[in-house]
């Protein structure tokens, strides 16, 4: 009875529930119609908007990074980075099948650069997979910290400044995957274009130096038809 009533209700007014309730099938996962940015009225608009765009076309980097008018830039950067870290967990999971502390004993991309893991009180030398986990955990901690990011509507300048160091450290995960686990990297990149998006993101907002973006994105890009940006 109740179910019927609610179904009827839904049919008449068609309220859209933008939630993946427990038990949602893969097919229905995130299958709700898009909404205009102006019409979104939750406190998580920016995240919702970004995720909606990514679902639509993850390869359209330019459009993804195109900030809506009147949007606070700090929040925009924050939400993007948050999204990157979330998706990067996918890469980390894949890496776990191939990257072991015994084989990749150090966090390195090219031989020249071996990095310390900054997640500890005193930075130390962690194996690549541990570096990946620690860094993603650390990033998640920072980005969810009530102290630095108490609100997702406005963000203090001092907290925005913290995003740079997260980018710097997170990027090393990409470069390690690219140079040492190319197959996994390619597989992942084909689906998500994450490294491409990330590279554009840090370049656009000057969060990293171009010379340090050592993963050549043009390779990945060339495989995508219709992508003009190199």
């Amino acid at each position: 009875m109740v179910m019927e009533a609610s179904q009827q209700n839904q049919q008449t007014q068609q309220p859209i529930v933008r939630r993946n309730r427990p038990g949602t099938t893969t097919k229905e996962f995130c299958q709700w119609p898009d909404e205009n940015f102006e019409e979104m009225d939750s406190t998580l608009v920016v995240q919702q908007f970004i995720q909606q765009m990514i679902r639509k076309d993850p390869s359209n980097v330019e459009k993804l990074l195109n900030m809506p008018d009147g949007q606070d830039e700090g929040v925009w950067k924050y939400e993007h980075l948050r999204q990157f870290c979330m998706e990067l967990n996918g890469l980390a999971v894949k890496l776990q099948t191939q990257c072991f502390p015994a084989t990749c004993t150090q966090m390195t991309a090219t031989e020249q650069w071996i990095f310390l893991c900054a997640a500890h009180k005193t930075p130390k030398e962690c194996p690549a997979i541990d570096y990946t986990r620690h860094t993603l955990d650390g990033a998640a901690c920072l980005l969810n910290s009530n102290k630095y990011f108490p609100s997702r509507v406005s963000i203090k300048e001092s907290s925005v400044l913290k995003l740079g160091s997260v980018c710097r450290r997170v990027y090393r995960i990409f470069s390690h995957a690219y140079f040492h686990h190319r197959r996994i990297f390619n597989e992942f990149e084909e689906q998500t274009f994450l490294c491409l998006r990330f590279t554009h993101f840090v370049t656009k907002y000057n969060l990293m130096s171009k010379d340090n973006l050592i993963v050549p994105i043009s390779d990945a890009v060339s495989e995508i038809p219709g992508e003009s940006e190199a």
Binding site: L116, K121, E157, S158, G164, R168, N206, D211
Partner: protein
């Protein structure tokens, strides 16, 4: 002396001899401020022996630029390139290879220093430095360097090398000094920026202030630095460059907590919140318009000399002192001290210019300060020139307590009984008394501390209804909570360093060697070099004293307005660590020499030492600058005097320490420095102990007494000079300190239960943190009732306290209990609840509280049911 020119040559160990006499009669045009000029503050970061290392920074920069295939000319690159380079360098700061890391660090240091190779003048260097620092900060260099500092602090290899060495030198702290220098430059540039009114970087400054006022990672930067100081003092890290650590700590605290202006603003803000009138008087302002008193003539000379030269007087004096001895209530030892003092003072009568001392500021002839020499044999002119202070410089004050006291005495006298705690009714009191009361009330001054103390008392009385209190979180509160667990160690360490840096200390007898970051690996070979090193060492010590004194004063001031018991906690630990005698020892030197010291070689200061054509280092070094005094030394002196004032104000037990340690002659000599503000603080210190110094001292030091009348704030009906004060009875002193301690402990236990319990109860495992904290926090709800439980001594209080569930001290056991006590014994004592020792070991606190709770519940149950 080959090639050394010395401005105003002086003998660094001897007195400020008569050749320099002119200086002694001119008021010092010294302006007290939160810090010296930006240029000087930057220059003081480096010791002269570090001179060679500047070139390493350029080298690192050039190497890096070569790596990037760019010309090593920073100014020719555009902003994007700047950013890109800095970002690359930051990346390099996190690589495993230490040489790579330090190369990047040095390059960044060179940028922070303002790329001095490319500039022509100091101004250019400063503006480039400012530009670079702002960019460095925006790109996250500060945080990256704090992490680097963490890494370097824990670098066991360098520590082990340093511990095993006999003589630790500059070379042992190369990396640490680079890191600390970058952090210091950023902090200092930010501080200077915050003082600019036209700054376009205010958002960055704000962000910076916020960043350092909060824990970076898991630790406040200030706490990290304090930790470094403690480790240094414990001997486990002799290579830590203390000067840089202290300077950074000072600046970080200054920027985060705020200087004089912030203090003034906060104080009035807090006062308004409590409904108190705002304070308009500004100590700095008032003392700036004051004129310095001429010092007591013999004050500067060696006391013994003066004594010997007047044998006749001496005989008479002893007679006088002996007759005095009989009247005095002070013990013999102090009496002896006074006697000596009396002799010295008596001798002053012979000095011809005696009468011109202490020119009355009310007569205020404006030229007087310049031309005192001309007046040498004249009486002070009573010319009615323009007056700077038509009235007394300070608004007089009255404490609530004084009014009560006055009314009690009057009532007892005129009505014959007292009405405790009533200052409203004046019934039965004669008119003049009422008038007096009105005047007292008009000048009534209620301090923030009074209000805070009263609130604490109320909370202690009604812990359940009043115990809930919201503690506002501000930088001071954050700092206090962070240093609370180890505050005693921090204070001891700071004082140890102060002691080691005091000019009177002998380097060899000290357990800690604060010279590690100034002494080069190779000892100097030529006379010039060793003179230079001598000056460098003295300069180094002076800068350390400056930093320590500034840190202590800053903390005391901020804690005082934040909560008086935070202040009392810190000051009690300073007193326990012998701060009072230490400061007195510091002043027990040739103070004029110290104030006029010229431990500076301007050409060696940064940036002069690197900009433009460099002269041959062996030729023509000019020592000393054109100033007649040393800014930093007067600054330190005033800081130390203020600290002493803060510690002793209204505390009879500590004032007694001033007397016991014979501070009067030392302070009197300090009056020789002709600077109104400094003299003011000395006079305050003398004023508070005058009543203990005896009649003879007063008699021979009438000039000081009148200077006190003129310059120090009056407390109406305060009997400061004649010792009839009831509060000043010596037998109460210990009790006073103990009561204060109890109040402070209660305050700390109530507000910071979780912070202190680890340190107090598990001093060996204060690092365990996490798990224990969780367990203890769970008890926080019990905390307001059972506050103080973690202090074993307080358990008795707790059990006896009437506040607790109305358990009376003298209760009668009920019949019920008497009849059933065997059952109670059996249940509660013999078999029930066998103690779970594992639990006790894990959480002694919880178990203890539960046991006591049960016991109380049980006994009240039996009492009530009867």
């Amino acid at each position: 002396m080959d090639g050394l020119t010395i401005n105003n040559f002086f003998d660094s160990d001897g007195g400020f001899d008569s050749g320099n006499g002119a200086n002694e009669f001119v008021d010092l045009e010294f302006n007290y401020a939160d810090s010296d000029t930006h240029l000087n503050e930057i220059a003081e970061l480096y010791s002269y022996t570090e001179h060679n290392e500047f070139q390493l920074n350029v080298k690192a920069f050039e190497d890096q630029m070569e790596m990037y295939k760019l010309k090593p000319l920073w100014q020719q690159l555009d902003k994007d390139q700047h950013q890109s380079i800095i970002l690359k360098l930051i990346d390099q700061l996190e690589v495993l290879d230490n040489t790579m890391r330090m190369k990047a660090a040095r390059t960044l240091l060179y940028l922070a220093q303002g790329c001095w190779v490319e500039v022509q003048s100091d101004d250019e260097q400063q503006s480039l430095s400012r530009y670079n620092v702002m960019m460095l900060y925006r790109l996250g260099v500060f945080q990256a360097f704090v992490e680097l500092l963490n890494l370097e602090i824990e670098n066991a290899a360098t520590a082990n090398v340093a511990i095993r060495k006999i003589a630790v030198s500059l070379a042992d702290s190369v990396d640490l000094r680079v890191i600390l220098s970058v952090l210091y430059i950023i902090t200092e540039v930010m501080r200077a920026e915050s003082e600019r009114t036209d700054s376009e970087h205010l958002d960055l400054v704000d962000a910076f202030v916020q960043e350092i006022s909060q824990p970076l990672g898991d630790e406040l930067l200030a706490v990290k630095l304090l930790g470094m100081i403690t480790r240094f003092c414990s001997g486990s890290a002799p290579h830590f460059p203390m000067k840089k650590v202290l300077l950074l700590l000072w600046k970080v605290s200054l920027v985060s907590l705020g200087g004089t202006e912030t203090l003034k603003k906060l104080k009035n803000e807090y006062r308004e919140k409590e409904g108190l009138p705002v304070i308009t008087e500004d100590t700095l302002e008032v003392s700036r318009t004051m004129r310095a008193s001429s010092p007591p003539p013999t004050a500067g000379n060696d006391d013994n000399m003066a004594k010997r030269s007047r044998p006749f007087r001496r005989v008479r004096n002893i007679v006088i002192s002996e007759s005095l001895m009989k009247q005095s209530s002070l013990d013999e030892q102090e009496q002896l001290g006074m006697e000596m003092e009396a002799q010295n003072a008596e001798n002053e009568d012979y000095i011809p210019d005696y009468y011109r001392q202490f020119d009355d500021p009310m007569n205020g002839d404006k030229n007087g300060m310049m031309h005192n020499e001309c007046e040498l044999n004249k009486q002070p002119s009573i010319s009615a020139a323009t007056t700077q202070h038509p009235t007394l410089p300070w608004e007089p004050k009255v404490r609530q307590k004084d009014i009560y006291q006055f009314m009690d005495i009057s009532r007892r006298k005129f009505i014959g009984y007292t009405l405790p705690d009533n200052c409203e009714t004046t019934a039965g009191l004669p008119n003049p008394i009422c008038e007096g009361i009105n005047i007292l009330k008009r000048h009534l001054y209620v301090s923030l501390a009074d209000i805070q103390v009263k609130r604490e008392e109320e909370i202690a009385r009604n812990p359940l209804t009043k115990g809930e209190e919201e503690v506002p979180i501000n930088p001071t509160e954050v700092l206090y909570q962070a240093i609370l667990p180890n505050l005693p160690q921090y204070m001891i360490s700071l004082l140890k360093i102060l002691l080691a840096a005091a000019p009177t200390s002998k380097a060899k007898t000290e357990s800690i060697n604060i010279m590690a970051d100034v002494l080069p690996e190779d000892m100097p070979m030529t006379v010039t070099q060793s003179t230079k090193l001598g000056i460098d060492v003295n300069r180094h010590k002076e800068i350390i004293v400056k930093a320590v004194s500034a840190i202590l004063l800053l903390y005391l001031k901020h804690f005082k307005i934040n909560h008086v018991y935070q202040f009392e906690f810190m000051s009690q630990h300073l007193v326990f660590a012998n701060c009072i005698p230490l400061v007195l020892k510091f002043f027990n030197q040739s103070i004029m020499t110290y104030v006029g010291s010229k431990n500076i070689i301007p050409i060696m200061d940064f940036p002069s030492c690197v900009i433009g054509e460099q002269p041959e280092l062996t030729s023509d070094l000019v020592i000393g600058d054109s100033e007649p005094y040393s800014w930093r030394n007067i600054f330190s002196c005033i800081n130390l005097l203020r600290i002493l004032n803060k510690l002793t104000k209204w505390k009879n037990s500590r004032i007694m320490m001033l007397v016991v340690f014979k501070s009067a002659p030392i302070l009197k000599r300090t009056l020789k420095v002709r600077h109104a503000m400094m003299q003011l603080y000395v006079l305050k210190l003398l004023k508070m102990q005058t009543k203990y110094l005896g009649r003879q001292w007063r008699k021979t030091n009438m000039k000081i007494i009148s200077a006190i009348y003129q310059k120090v704030r009056h407390h109406l009906n305060s009997d400061w000079a004649f010792g009839n004060d009831l509060d000043a009875r010596p037998w109460d002193f210990q009790a006073e300190e103990c009561t204060l301690r109890t109040c402070v402990d209660r305050f700390n236990n109530r507000r910071y239960f979780s912070q202190i319990s680890n340190a107090v109860r598990f001093p060996d495992q204060s690092n365990v943190g996490g798990n224990q904290n969780l367990g203890l926090n769970a008890n926080n709800c019990d905390n307001s009732i059972f506050n103080g439980i973690e202090n074993e001594l307080n358990i008795n209080n707790l059990l006896n306290s009437e506040n607790l569930l109305e358990v009376d001290d003298h209760f009668e056991l009920t019949k019920e209990f008497k009849n059933n006590y065997e059952a109670w014994l059996k249940e509660e004592v013999f078999c029930a609840n066998p103690i779970d020792w594992n639990e006790v070991l894990n959480e002694p606190n919880l178990v203890l509280i539960n046991e006591i709770k049960n016991a109380i519940r049980y006994s009240t149950y039996f009492m009530k049911s009867g």
